[in-house]
């Protein structure tokens, strides 16, 4: 048994996408990336610039992590306010290294749908919308997204609607981490408790597993950072991430 929970697997493997000296952005409606950025700040021995949608730049939280990833608590200790217009302009002019952007559906090329389930004109479900992704995805250096549900409904061969397409490089689910390789999402590493067959069965698009490795176990520093951010398990309970039931 691994020391990952499904929740810690997603958060910590999002955190591991962050690189030294880069500019990394976390947006609205993005609780898990917010936590991932905070984990990286606390657990990793390097500097990076963390911008967030609340306007904060390298904020240092004074109190508990806010429930809303757009809360002004994420500007505490920030020495500038980098507002929405600022970070979008930064992105489109080429200054954004890594952004976490939400997605309801993802296809094998890394295009995303945040708009509708069903037809555009007569949607079965109206989704939240892509936020910045149609503008950011083609202009940033690397995007990463996450799904709390790893299923053929979310990881699909064909999107209902293509809200955004561009440099989506990584996808983290409770089962595995996908990386873009030759234009397609391939399994880079997988949760130690699942098999590659289970991943393929739960994934709606064709995916290369030839270079997949078990995901390294969480470090004590990563787990300690996450515990410090979610001491009473509120975020873990709210996220309600479960492993898909697989016919193993």
């Amino acid at each position: 048994m691994t020391s990952y929970t499904p929740f810690s697997y997603v958060v910590i493997n999002l955190a591991r996408l962050i690189r030294p000296s880069e500019v990394t952005f976390s947006g609205v409606n993005s609780t898990l990336p917010m936590l991932a950025c905070l984990v990286a700040k606390r657990a990793y021995d390097f500097n990076f610039t963390w911008l967030n949608v609340a306007g904060g730049v390298d904020a240092e939280l004074a109190g508990p992590v806010p429930l809303s990833s757009g809360d002004a608590a994420l500007t505490a200790g920030s020495r500038s306010i980098f507002a929405n217009e600022d970070f979008y302009d930064l992105c489109t002019r080429g200054g954004m290294d890594l952004c976490f952007l939400g997605a309801s559906q993802i296809d094998g090329t890394g295009a995303t749908n945040n708009s509708v389930i069903g037809d555009w004109d007569t949607p079965k479900v109206r989704l939240p919308g892509g936020g910045g992704s149609a503008v950011m995805m083609p202009t940033l250096k690397r995007a990463a997204t996450w799904r709390t549900e790893h299923s053929t409904r979310t990881l699909v061969d064909k999107l209902f609607f293509q809200t955004a397409k561009g440099n989506l490089q990584s996808v983290v689910t409770p089962m595995c981490v996908f990386d873009k390789r030759e234009g397609r999402l391939a399994v880079a590493s997988y949760h130690p408790d699942v098999t590659l067959d289970e991943i393929r069965a739960a994934t709606g698009f064709e995916t290369d597993i030839s270079q997949a490795q078990p995901t390294p176990e969480p470090t004590e520093a990563e787990l300690a950072a996450l515990r410090s951010l979610d001491p009473d398990g509120t975020f873990e309970a709210d996220a309600a991430i479960r492993m898909p039931e697989v016919a193993a």
Partner: protein, 275 residues
């Protein structure tokens, strides 16, 4: 001192909004939205409004539930916090009662910037590969200066009104915002008229002490109202946090088909009651 030509009441401010108006709202999701203003739109039974905001949530949800809205331009819509999707909005779109023009947040900003700069369109980075451009009928052009780049142009978006909730306003309509302005700068430059609700009514001298913090100079403000707790149940940092309890009750109550208790519990409604 001359009497203020700008200060009014919430009732009067909203009474001047005609049915069918397009209204740009300030703030983002649960934060610093002009929510007391939004509720007054409901109380006065406004109809056929267009709401323009990159990231609406509570505001668009309750307006949809109250039947005030026929059109929305937005980038991402959710209750946020830990509340997930905005059910009233979702139902209104899915039923066809409300028509959505979906934007990437920055395409909406580009449209506002076009209006703010007095030009009919604004180029925007990205958008390539997004079907939003198709369904919205946006045009792209090749860079006329020969870079070979193709660029999407967003048509100007000029709301009839921009409505923001500020930290402070003075009697002449100068409005101060702390923390992120979100999109309020672009919104107030794009709109035909700017309306300000504010948490505090401050002395003019306090604006002169730090004029850099004034987001909207008074001459641009058509009307201003002092509305304490005007962003309730959202936050106005650092003065108050999101009232998660009230927001949760709104989500539950409204899912059951009513918003009456929520409307009655709003600070501006309770202030109106005789003590």
């Amino acid at each position: 001192m001359t009497a203020s030509e700008k200060l009014t009441t919430l009732e009067e401010m909203v009474a001047a909004i005609p049915n069918g108006a397009s209204i740009g709202l300030g703030g983002s999701f649960l934060h610093r939205g002009p929510f007391a203003f939004v509720r007054e739109l409901i109380r006065q039974g406004k109809r056929d409004l267009e709401i323009i905001k990159a990231s609406p949530g509570y505001d668009i949800d309750i307006l949809c539930r109250a039947g005030c809205v026929s059109r929305v331009r937005a980038g991402i819509v959710a209750m946020e916090g830990n509340f997930g999707l905005a059910g009233g909005y979702r139902k209104a779109i899915e039923s066809g009662a409300v028509k959505l023009e979906e934007h990437a947040c920055m395409t909406l900003t580009a449209g506002l910037r076009a209006a703010g700069a007095g030009v009919p369109f604004m180029p925007v980075g990205g958008v390539h590969g997004s079907q939003i451009a198709e369904v919205s009928g946006w045009k792209k052009i090749a860079d006329p200066y020969g870079s070979g780049e193709e660029v999407w142009l967003i048509p100007a978006i000029r709301p009839d009104f921009a409505v923001i909730h500020a930290h402070a306003v003075d009697r002449d309509g100068n409005a101060r915002v702390e923390g992120s302005p979100h999109w309020d700068r672009a919104m107030t430059r794009a709109a035909r008229k700017v309306l300000v609700t504010a948490e505090t009514l401050a002395r003019p001298e306090s604006f002169a002490e730090r004029p850099e913090l004034t987001l909207v100079p008074g001459f641009m403000t058509a009307a201003a109202v002092h509305v304490p707790q005007g962003a309730w149940p959202g936050s106005l940092a650092p003065v108050y946090d999101v009232n998660y309890e009230a927001a949760a009750r709104y989500v539950e109550e409204s899912a059951d088909g009513s918003i009456a208790e929520h409307m009655a519990a709003a600070p501006e409604a309770r202030q109106e009651e005789p003590a």
